[in-house]
């Protein structure tokens, strides 16, 4: 079981969260009309074996969406942030 640090609530069991997938995918602008951009966003994943940035929703806690840095091979978690506070979702958490 993962224990995930929620910046609002503290360290919590995975069971309080739902998983939201790859957080590096940038949602196209609402005005984007090219289907390719949307197909990419909705369906295509890098699916890395190793470091991964991903969304978790603290659904039975503060209901904030987090971006969590986790290794998909070791499950080690190296950071978590409020999605809303990350200025550029794709790049900011890279550090």
């Amino acid at each position: 079981m993962l224990r995930i640090h929620c910046p609002v609530c503290g360290l919590r069991d995975e069971t309080e969260f739902t998983y939201g997938g790859d957080a590096t995918m940038r949602r196209p602008d609402m005005t984007e009309s090219d289907p390719k951009a949307w197909v990419d966003y909705v369906f295509i994943r890098d699916n890395p074996r190793g470091p991964h940035k991903e969304y978790w929703h603290h659904v039975t806690g503060c209901r904030q969406w987090l971006i969590v840095k986790r290794d998909t091979l070791t499950h080690e978690i190296s950071g978590s942030y409020l999605a809303r506070e990350v200025a550029d979702l794709a790049d900011e958490v890279a550090a």
Partner: protein, 987 residues
């Protein structure tokens, strides 16, 4: 084998006598005994029959590694198969029986398999029963017989009368094992003030120290250590508890056998407790398990691990045999040998090694033990009990170099070295390191938040184990000091455990995996056939896959394969260990979460009224909803038709509190809704409602519902019951990520509002009477809302219709839901008000052609469901681009139509549609999604998705239910069956 209880000694309470039963025979025991020690003390040496060959088996071990002695425990609804006799504490009245034997343990017909064993080698099943003909019949015929012969214990199908609990626990350090290293660690960490959870699978603390003779110097230290730990408020000691699994982020699963050592749990006490422990770090002090040797007859009752013989002697005061052959390849068997001699047994030691430490040789000599160096047991003889051994001189590969001698004995005590119990470590981290000098896999002393100490880490002495533990705990206080026997197994071990004749074969069956009856010859055959990787070996021979998960077999199988391949053990590999360490009762993990509490139940605040008024309830996700309110003797069909007809004629109320409700607030809410829904929302005025359709990101329909604008910045969205959580989560996601530019907050208010739909031609009259408000068509047209008082409760009245009737939804502060419902019922009498359930609600919406979950099933588009008119072309919204993908625009896609069924029989939802004279094969041209008898039309009708549907109105098609053997014809019509112009709802 002539085991007996010694007149004194041991760690049992001789002041009390209890009785345990095995196969109907009664045995005397004392508190402190296990079932195994009690049976051994009573001379019962035959305890089980093996899995495949039904060979007689007795005790090999005294702990979790016991592969043979699995029994049925208790009876009736507390019956339990596959209990390890070595792990069952004796209690008065304990009942146990043998398993996997017929007609009896003594005379088991299945033993005939043993005679055929040469044909039951590795891979036997893969090569036979293929059958002469095509198909699976031949194999399945044999499979029935094979299944009956396989399996071990018999399970009951009765419900478990006991209860279980889960406890969430948190600590700074979890220590597994209370041998010297674990205790030393706990003392240091406890003194430091850390929150410690100390876990011991036994009912007493001490681990290996308990195998010392009672009164040994370590007893004093043990009692002081325990006393100090029990005084520390920050140390929680869990005995009778097994740490069964180590999981990511330092989470451990423990099972405490809280009340398993008694006949039945005390009133109010759970049988077992499942502890889910989150710790900051873990100290593993789980010890080591002795390795057996592989020689012919190594499974005969009376062939035991030397450490087990010692444990029975010192802890339970049971002398397992009078004439003992000790077979070893290391120092550790000498202590039991000396103690056995002291207890009066005649002892022969055969040690594979040609040289042993001088100290050992001296003490053996003093004890008049017959020591034979460079020799090993080639064969143990006997059937239901060992009668003697054949001892041979061996070379450095364990092969006999000359003829040997026969030694009469009733006990063979074996030590083939030790395997550290690294299961927990391996579960978490995978592959351990092989140490050639110890012929063992060891975890590193430190990895991540895990420290390994004591025998697990290969500690060479009692003092080293204590020092390691003390250091791991934090080195607080004085380091404990104790001296133990100088008999470290790893000091001078000869890494050979397989004893064969000169030609490499064994004079009889030599077992590698005892519980699964895997023989040395099976490993050899697997090698011949190329199943040489450790995983192939394991799977092909089933070695290590029995209920003991290879605790005594893994290394010996691996060693043999390494020999055959001419490789070092680590090159052949090791299997990683999987949780649980020892089997755990399913009930323990489940705790209270079964039966009605399998999942929480969600109830409307009007629920009790429905129950009191005899409603049949139905599950809708987590909710229970009134399905129908049967009159006396009425079935569901009678009830829903009556209820639906009543709504069309008079007025009905239905509890719709389960609808998802979301408060959307903030200055940008209109823009937010505009993006969320396919419809335009910018123009929605305060006090108005609008139906909306919401898509998934991939352009398929996700949900629909009405949104009300309550104020300038204040909107009230409703969703379907099923999708409420999904819609809210998606809105939150978008608002917290891509749409952070929008000043909007969404909050669930599903629980803030109870909701009642009031439908039927008399609904306005009823509501006017109840609210005393002006609800005329002019003041409150369709899709408008008003604030009203019902029974002094301030409510919000939405005028909108799902049934197609003149209808309203009344939103009531939740806690007043029942009060308002009852007020409506009371005031409804003159209007002939009746409640209706979800079945009638479904009938009404089908008549009206509204889609619901059966149509919005995750694969349909707005076009498919005739909702295209709601999609705005003036703005982008979630899914607006992908919904236009080419295949989704194909006019041949199944689209929503109505069906009028010809004849008196209704169609079944899930029936397939075919052209009238076409073949009824393949996927059909569509399917029936929802059906009902329409009381309004006096017809059986249905909603369906039909290829090119709307273009086929007027066509007659076939409706086929293959499963129900029913073929009907239906006329394709518009799905707006009833009042398509909406006169009634707009009236």
């Amino acid at each position: 084998m002539t085991a007996r209880r010694l007149p004194s000694g041991g760690r049992i309470d001789r002041s009390r006598t209890i009785r345990v039963q095995f196969d109907g025979r009664s045995f005397v025991a004392h508190p402190g005994d296990t079932l195994a020690s009690a049976l051994l003390a009573g001379g019962q040496t035959l305890l089980a029959r093996s899995f495949k060959y039904h060979r007689p088996r007795g005790l090999m071990a005294a702990g979790v590694e016991e592969p043979h002695a699995l029994v049925h425990l208790r009876d009736g609804n507390r019956h339990e198969p596959n209990a390890q006799a070595t792990m069952v504490e004796a209690f008065d009245g304990l009942k146990s029986t043998s398993q996997n034997a017929w007609p009896s343990l003594q005379f088991d017909v299945g033993a005939v398999n043993g005679l055929m064993s040469r044909f039951f080698g590795a891979g036997f099943y893969y090569k036979t029963f293929i059958g002469p003909l095509k198909g699976t019949g031949f194999w399945m015929f044999w499979e029935r017989l094979i299944r009956r012969a396989a399996g071990m214990g018999r399970a009951t199908t009765l419900d478990d009368p006991d209860h279980y609990e889960k406890i969430n626990a948190f600590c700074d350090v979890l220590i597994a094992g209370t041998g010297p290293a674990g205790l030393a660690a706990a003392l240091a960490a406890g003194r430091k003030g850390e929150n410690v959870i100390l876990v011991e699978q036994d009912h007493v603390l001490g681990g290996s120290l308990l195998n010392e003779q009672a009164g040994a110097p370590s007893d004093t230290w043990l009692s002081h250590a325990e006393a100090e730990l029990r005084d520390l408020p920050n140390v929680r000691i869990l005995s009778r508890t097994t740490a069964f699994g180590a999981y990511d982020t330092e989470v451990f699963g423990l099972v405490e056998r809280f009340q398993d050592h008694v006949r039945a749990p005390e009133a109010g006490k759970p049988r077992q407790r499942y502890w889910l422990v989150r710790t900051k770090r873990a100290i593993l002090a789980t010890g080591a398990i002795e390795r057996p040797m592989v020689f012919a007859g190594n499974d005969v009752p009376g062939v035991m691990l030397a450490s087990a013989v010692r444990k029975y002697l010192n802890r339970y005061a049971v002398l397992a045999g009078k004439n003992v052959v000790v077979a070893t390849n290391n120092d550790s068997a000498y202590t039991p040998a000396l103690e056995l001699a002291k207890a009066g047994a005649k002892v022969v030691i055969c040690d594979l090694r040609r040289n042993i430490p001088a100290g050992l040789a001296d003490s053996v000599k003093k004890a008049a033990i017959d020591l034979r160096l460079g020799q090993a047991v080639l064969k143990a003889e006997g059937g239901k009990s060992v009668r003697g051994t054949y001892i041979v001189p061996v070379d450095s590969n364990g092969r006999a170099t000359a003829k040997g001698t026969r030694v009469i004995c009733d006990l063979v005590a074996v030590s083939g070295g030790w395997a550290p119990a690294l299961h927990l470590w391996s579960q978490r981290f995978g592959k351990p390191q092989y140490h050639a000098s110890l012929d063992a896999f060891l975890p590193p002393a430190e990895k991540g938040a895990f420290l390994c100490v004591g025998s697990l880490a290969g500690a060479a002495s009692l003092q080293e184990a204590l020092s390691q533990g003390h250091a791991a705990g934090g080195s607080i206080g004085r380091e404990p000091s104790l001296s133990g026997p100088d008999d470290f197994w790893g000091r001078d071990l000869m890494p050979v455990t397989v004893i064969t004749k000169a030609d490499g074969s064994t004079p009889g069956k030599a077992f590698v995996d005892f519980q699964h009856d895997v023989k040395l010859a099976d490993v050899d055959q697997a090698y011949l056939e190329g199943y040489v990787s450790v995983e192939h070996l394991k799977r092909y021979t089933t070695s290590g896959m029995a209920a003991d998960q290879g605790k005594t077999s893994n290394l010996n199988a691996l060693a043999r394969m390494a020999t055959l391949r001419g490789m070092e053990i680590p090159s052949v590999g090791t299997t990683t260990f999987r949780p649980p360490y020892t089997p755990v009762a399913i009930g323990a993990i489940v705790g209270h979460d079964h039966g009605l509490y399998f999942r929480p139940t969600r109830l409307s605040t009007i629920h009790d009224w429905h129950k009191e008024n005899a409603a049949e309830m139905i599950e809708a996700g987590a909710w229970l909803r009134p399905w129908y309110y049967p009159a006396k003797g009425e079935n569901i069909r009678g009830a829903y038709i009556r209820e639906a007809a009543h709504v069309r004629e008079h007025v009905g109320i239905v509890d719709v509190s389960t609808l998802g409700k979301i408060a959307a607030q903030g200055p940008d809410t209109a823009e937010f809704l505009n993006r969320m829904y396919a419809n335009g929302f910018k123009t929605l005025e305060i006090g108005r409602l609008r139906y909306g359709v919401m898509l998934r990101e991939d352009g398929f329909i996700m949900d629909d519902g009405a949104t009300a604008r309550l104020g300038q910045n204040d909107y009230f969205m409703s969703t379907t019951t099923a999708n409420a959580a999904k819609v809210l989560a998606m809105a939150e996601h978008l608002l917290q990520t891509a749409w952070r530019d929008l000043k909007v907050h969404v909050t669930t208010v599903t629980d803030q509002w109870a909701a009642i739909a009031i439908a039927g031609p008399k609904s306005r009259d009823l509501l006017t009477a109840v609210t005393k408000a002006d609800l005329s068509k002019e003041t409150l047209p369709n899709n408008h809302l008003a604030y009203v008082l019902v029974a002094d409760v301030p409510c919000r009245l939405h005028r909108m219709s799902y049934s197609g009737e003149l209808a309203y939804e009344l939103y009531i502060p939740a806690k007043s839901g029942r009060k308002v419902w009852e007020a409506l019922v009371a005031a409804g009498a003159p209007f002939n008000l009746k409640p209706y359930g979800t079945e009638a609600m479904g009938a009404l919406r089908i008549e009206k052609g509204h889609v619901a979950g059966a149509e919005i099933e995750g694969r349909t588009t707005m076009k498919d469901l005739g909702l295209e008119a709601f999609a705005s072309s003036k703005k982008p919204f979630v899914g607006s681009v992908l919904r236009k993908r080419p295949v989704l625009e194909d006019p041949k896609r199944p689209s929503l139509v109505g069906l009028e069924i010809i004849g008196n029989t209704g169609a079944k939802a899930g029936s397939l549609l075919f052209s009238l004279n076409g073949p009824t094969k393949g996927h059909g041209e569509g399917w029936v999604s929802s059906t009902t008898y329409s009381p309004a039309l006096k017809k059986n009708i249905a909603l369906a998705l039909l290829a090119r549907g709307p273009a086929r109105i007027g066509e007659t098609i076939q409706v086929v239910d293959f499963l129900g053997s029913q073929t009907l014809q239906a006329k394709v019509v518009s799905h707006h069956f009833f009042d398509p112009e909406g006169h009634r709802q707009n009236g």
